[in-house]
Symmetry: C2
Subunit: 126 residues, 2 copies
């Protein structure tokens, strides 16, 4: 039940995987794993991947999603209004809004002592 050396050229955490892929696809074991890895690398390395990941990650927190949906309904909110809606501390609200701005989901407008936030593109919300 040992693995032939030629199959171990590409290191994977699961030494049985090349055999499974070989049985599934019919390709020779040493070839199939790199094939999938290369395709994955192309996707992972693309700038769109990083961008999309940053967007969905910014929306993946309940309080940030709430803020975004409220902005969708109300158009504009200042930081303290987001704080009132979420019930969080102002420090945490500041943290969340910074992430949303960085991800390009929300724009920031400083007027006087207040900071107002708006959705950048409400059509792109998932």
């Amino acid at each position: 039940m040992s693995i032939p050396v030629y199959m171990m050229a590409i290191t994977t955490p699961d030494p049985m995987l090349p055999r499974r892929l070989e049985r599934l696809t019919g390709n020779e074991a040493p070839n199939c794993v790199p094939l999938y890895l290369d395709r994955a690398k192309a996707v992972r390395g693309s700038p769109e991947f990083a961008e999309r990941l940053q967007r969905v990650r910014a929306l993946s927190d309940p309080n940030r999603l709430l803020a975004v949906l409220l902005l969708e309904r109300q158009g504009e909110l200042c930081a303290c209004e987001v704080q009132a809606a979420t019930g969080l501390s102002h420090a945490t609200v500041s943290h969340h809004m910074k992430l949303l701005v960085k991800a390009g989901i929300v724009s920031e407008d400083r007027r006087g002592k207040w900071r107002y936030y708006r959705l950048r593109d409400r059509s792109r919300l998932p």
Copy 2:
């Protein structure tokens, strides 16, 4: 610098927030915080909120997003192919695919020993 009792009816972590909102909106302090909390509650409590949150959370992991984007390109992948692409253990792949299925992003098809996955609605990807 003490807070009037009538302002403390609704508990917020930040005792200064009602005053800030009063100055911002002109409404009386005791009224404005509940206003925002009620709007937030309506959004938070809606079934769409839970659904959207589940979707974005399912997509917010780099390996799951990779799997989804590969499915978008290739149409169909079996579990071990996802494992080859991500470089994860098969246990972790199983965990990720279960989340994607639960969130309604991916469909599962059992054929023989293998489980094949497809995108449910590729137009809804953010």
